[in-house]
Amino acid sequence: MALTGRLGLLALLGAIVPLFAPSWWTLFAVWGVLLLGVVIDLALAGNVRALRYHRSGDTNVRLGETAKVSLIVENLGRRRLKARLRDVWPPSAGATPRMVKINVPAGERRRVEMTLTPTRRGDRKAVTVVVRSVGPLGLAARQLSRPAPWTVRALPAFPSRRHLPAKLARLRELTGAHVALIRGQGTEFDSLREYVDGDDVRSIDWRATARRGDVVVRTWRPERDRRIYMVLDTGRTSAGRVGDIPRLDCSMDAALLLGALASRAGDRVDLLAYDRRVRTRVEGSSRTDLLPAMVHAMAPLEPELLECDAAGMVSTLMARVRQRCLVVLLTELNTAAIEEGLLPLLPQLTARHLVMIAAVSDPRVGEMAEGRGDLAAVYDAAAAERARAERRRLTAELRGHGVEVVDAPPEEIAPALADAYLALKAAGRL
């Protein structure tokens, strides 16, 4: 039940009446009239309990895009329902309109269209649906709040997918599947084909040539069916914002581009998100459903404000992957975290696997290092130089352990990681 402003106004006007007839009975009469109005309204208002809700529409939306969710309101009551309806979503779901007016005749259904533009990644659950049906006099209303469950998952935006065509073209050049039919680089035997002008004579397969009576060359291609294991660090260092985006989101973007590229290149891609325990895992996905699986696994991930447990991460990794693979660790080059956590365990890891560390650097540090003029700017510059020196030292130390390090600002990390992968592939180091 809810009252309206009209009832308050009427009570206000009713205050004048006792001035003309000063008696308790006058006041009781005014109250009686108000009460009667309320009772009539409550009795004649459309029945909100007789409503049934059905939902349909999008369940996934890429961050920054708009999802449409329909709420179908079915009136099972015997009277027409004129009401205001609010479909309640969390603020970060960006649901509009906030409130709609519905008019549902008895036994019929009406559709309410909601548009959701989530402002953050993750699952957004519909909270409840509230209906307020005001009576014919407009003095009182029936109100009911009842859940109509629905979840919209806001997926990572994957803005670096615009780099994918360029990287795939580069990949095709490597594999020889390029339209220009350049002989593929690599170490793995692919197929035999007829010699064309320009082919390297060293690649002529004499035995096949003798058999066919025509000059036949061997073609090569980079190794396929290698395994790439991506590890997302969701610990405290991933919460830091670079620009206005958490470092974790930049890492995810880079992981998605690498995943898309590597799966096209015929490699098996797995994903693990870890801080002090396994947050999510994508393993054994086929080439076609890898990207959706990764995107769905990443959507609800949030940075945890904990120190990442490097020992746990390495042991989980070693337990899950027996054969040699490329381990891509998406983390931050934080001196304390790496030196105390990962560095002592690196030999164990590099002994079996090829390790690559991808870190997002903060352009703000670069800006600070450029600071000149006043004292504050110069001290900023000094602190930034110190930070960069530490980062350089750490990078050098990691490279000394045979680790590939990709350190790039947020907008370049994804293509830089893809390039590093392609370089490894071209060199046959996978």
Binding site: A2, L3, T4, G5, L7, G8, A11, L12, G14, A15, P18, L19, F20, A21, P22, S23, L27, V30, W31, L34, R86, V88, P90, P91, S92, M99, V127, T128, V130, Q143, S145, R236, A239, G240, R241, D244, R247, P303, L305, D362, R364, M368, A369, R372, G373, D374, L375, A376, V378, Y379, D380, A381, A382, A383, A384, E385, R386, A387, R388, A389
Partner: protein, 398 residues
Amino acid sequence: MVTAAPPRGEQSAGPSARQVAGRRWRSARGVVAAILAMAVVALILAALRPSTSAEALDPESPKQDGSRALAEILRQHGTRVTVARNAGDALGAAGPGTVMVVTRTERLTEKDLQELSGVRADLLLVRPTSFALDALAPQVRRGGPTYEEKDSPDCSLQAATLAGRVAFHESETYDVAGSAAACYRTEYDAARLVQVRNGTGTVTVLGSTAPLTNRRLTEEGNAALAMNLAGAGTSVVWLVPDLPKEGAGAGQKSLGDLLPFGVKLLILELLVAVLLVALWRARRLGPVVAEALPVVVRSAETVEGRARLYRAGRARDRASDALRSGARERLVPLLGLPRSSAQDPSAAQEIVTAVARRTAYDETYVGAALYGPEPLDDAGLIALTDVLDDLERQVRQS
């Protein structure tokens, strides 16, 4: 490192604090203006109200609005002047042949007035309140205030005719029924001075305090009028009541008794209306949804914190070291030397020579810039960054 900080760069998402404040101001400015206008009106009214000091018409006060001058003159003429501070004392001192001057009647309680009405003496009421007038001179009714400055008596009362023109300044006027002396009439026939008979004696009502005050006593015939009225008997009892004690006015009606029943019902109904409006506003269309917000911490926060620590500690040594080693790191690849030499002290001479060869500076200057002691003051530190930038630029361009 990880702490919650206010979100940045989200102004585009919702209205900023300034916009919200502006909207609230626009919606509230009508109310604020109304309140201000009421305050201004109240202040103006308060300023216009004639101030009455605590000692007004006090026969012992030598102040402008006191009446010591008149009392002294009366004494010099042989009239005994008794000052009474409450009605009881005044009644005790009064008797036949006495003129009782009753001033500041707003301080008299209902009981005082009742007692005074039975006094066996002539009364001179100076600008009485309507309560006092009703109790002591029921046949006289209040007219309204007049502001005409002067007037002539124009009546048969000897005290007035002898005094002639009198300066009343602001005065109350009175209507009187039946035969009575009504002097100093206005054009609407309302009198400023009225004398009626009342059983045992006369009751004189004077509409203005001016003829009795120290300040106005010398104007026109004020002194004469005051002397004639107050000094009519053998003695004067001058009643200047003090403020009545707490509870002395008991028996008077409370505010609740004075309000009509209808108004009380109106107030009750207004409360009900307010309650209903509150219930209307209190019921939301759906709940407030709370959700966990992500932690917002800038990645460069530690670097900024370190910069502030350097500044707070005036750590010029560490700051200059960091700046120099950063500059060397950038210079070394330009000079074609191995990267490791940037932090290698044994390679210092080699770097300095190479830099000096490619810039306009000599080795001493370059050595001081790249490996020198810490700057002596803040200006030196700022100058060092400029020198390092200059070296780097020259090497780059050579």
